[in-house]
Amino acid sequence: MTKKNEIILSVALVAAVFVVLTVLEQVLPSSSMLFVVLKKGAIYALVAVSMNLLNGFTGLFSLGQAGFMLIGAYTYAIFTIPMDARKAVYQYFDGGIINFTVPVPVAMIMAGLAAAAFAYLIGLPVLRLKSDYLAIATLGFAEIIRAIFQWDTLGPVTNGSNLLRKFPVFSSVTFPFTAAGICIAIIVLLINSSYGRAFKAIRDDDIAAEAMGINLAKHKQMAFNISSFFAGVGGALLAMYQTTVQAAAFKSAMTYEILLIVVIGGMGSVTGSCISSFLFIACSEWWLRFLDSETYIGSLKLPFLRSGFRKVVFSVIIMIIVLFYNRGIMGTREFSIGAVLQFFKKRTARSKREENAA
């Protein structure tokens, strides 16, 4: 499979995905659970890949993702609420002090930059810590950020503990796919570049990496800032999906979910994070829903099945994966068209041989 053919096939595959999505949108009712899974799955896939960049590829165990998503979500919302809606949204703060709006794509990039800026500041003291301490420090910072954004004194900007709403949102499923897709593509380019290799070297052995000329502080900061940028963009997308933004929703539980997605997909595999993100959302929001409703067979009521059982089953499944399949679905492998074709070639060759032998 030559490089040129691979690229052509990849482009064709991407186009096919979009065609399928557009068709689905025409055919299925917009309230279908499939769209919930696709939209939320795409957004979580982006955040999961950004976390994987940090944890799986650079070896920095950070638990601050929810904080950066929060910053991104707020930045996006604050700068896109239309002027005439501001009075209603910021009702306790006199319409708020921000008096302009920016176009949606600009706001999304601002969301990323704001998150990256915070990451830069936080990273300065925190990145030299050992892995367990780094996890707790980033977790702590995420909680501090959450408290700050709920602080009423900052109300004119953040609306304090009230939620932000009425900002532009998306309706079609192609928007989050495009946005997330572009971002993930950039991250993949980074990972396959010289800097990506440097990150992996730091993960494998940071003392050896330093001895080979890789400046640890600079590269760790780079990974942290870039990962946070994309977490911020993911936050903006999440804001658009949820149509409201409230600091209280960005608890550390959100970071844990992303972490579990990354682990299930395989730390060090971008494809794994994407696949497991869709699976995770599908399971938690859709497929296991039946476990939450009381079901009867004839007149016999099935035990256990009531509200909340879904999450219990889900948690058990996650524990099983963590304990027995801790390399995740993909381990550190990635999807490639060449590999898939190879797989099929081998199977046809084997079945031909079996035919001839018979």
């Binding site: 165990f61 892995s131 408290a147 009423d152 550390s252 948690s315 963590v322």
Partner: protein, 294 residues
């Protein structure tokens, strides 16, 4: 003195909750000292103990339900270690931390499922919930006796560690895991004992804590748990006296901040403290620095 009078109720509350955090934080610091694991599920064990008391005291008299809760909590901690942490002892450090997060997630979801998501009212344990007036402050007896119970239990624990064989084994294992195994120390017993002690203290902590803050929800364990962990890090992770000191400091400061009117920030204060100590002296107040051999 003025300050003391005006804020006496806050200071008392602070000492009380500090003692409760201390009992939880010992569990964190001991487990980290031996396994280098941040047991994210520890706070949730504390929460489960609270719920167990709610359900058991509805069917059993107090003198039976209290020991039963302690026994069940200890069993829970032990089982979690065997099922979720032991298999991953040789896996990379991140895996076992992720397992702890998974256990925490599971415990919270189970609690939500069983209780239906509504907060449950903690039963009143007679006598300790009675009011008492000290100086200008009115508070409950729980608030007053908590620091004493904490100090007694901690003293007992420190004596156990210093003067018994199992205590020496624990100290050895936290110094050097591999060599201790080679020297014939039964690692599983030591680790099991560590979780037993931690869970026992968490159960006692839950009696005291929920007698004060009587509403128990599935999330009741996460913030106290996190604060107890910060206390352990602040005091020097692996050091029991350090964890206790850290917990009291956090408890008192947190309540003083509430007293000053900055309630939104009382939680954030804990984290700010954490970050300060991690940046200034990562090994904590009583911790020791160790250099890595290249």
């Amino acid at each position: 003195m003025e300050f003391l009078n005006a804020n006496l109720s806050y200071i008392l509350a602070g000492i009380s909750v500090g003692g409760q955090y201390a009992l939880i934080s010992i569990g964190y610091t001991m487990v980290y000292g031996i396994l280098r694991l941040i047991n994210f599920a520890h706070g949730d064990i504390f929460m489960v103990a609270g719920f167990m008391m709610v359900y058991l005291s509805a069917v059993l008299p107090l003198y039976q339900s209290i020991p039963l809760v302690i026994a069940l909590t200890v069993l829970l901690g032990f089982v979690i270690e065997r099922v979720a942490y032991k298999p991953l002892r040789s896996a990379p450090r991140m895996s076992i931390m992720i397992s702890a997060i998974g256990v925490s997630y599971l415990l919270q979801n189970c609690a939500w499922y069983i209780t239906g998501g509504l907060a449950k009212q903690y039963p009143t344990i007679p006598w300790i919930s009675n009011s008492i007036t000290i100086g200008t402050a009115t508070t409950t007896i729980v608030t007053v006796i908590t620091p004493f119970i904490t100090i007694i239990l901690v003293a007992a624990l420190v004596m156990l560690i210093k003067h018994t064989k199992i205590g020496m084994a624990m100290r050895a294992v936290s110094r050097d895991f591999e060599t201790s195994q080679l020297m014939g120390i039964k690692i599983n017993s030591v680790i099991g004992m560590t979780f037993v002690i931690g869970s026992l203290l968490a159960a006692v902590g839950s009696f005291l804590y929920f007698s004060n803050y009587t509403s128990v929800t599935p999330l009741s364990g996460s913030i106290p748990g996190l604060k107890a962990f910060v206390a352990a890090v602040f005091g020097g992770i692996g050091s029991i006296p350090g964890a206790v000191v850290g917990a009291f400091i956090i408890g008192i400061c947190e309540n003083l901040i509430k007293g000053l009117g900055w309630t939104t920030f009382s939680d954030a204060f804990t984290f700010a403290l954490l970050i300060t100590i991690l940046v200034a002296k990562p090994t904590g107040l009583f911790g020791e620095k160790s250099t890595e051999k290249v």
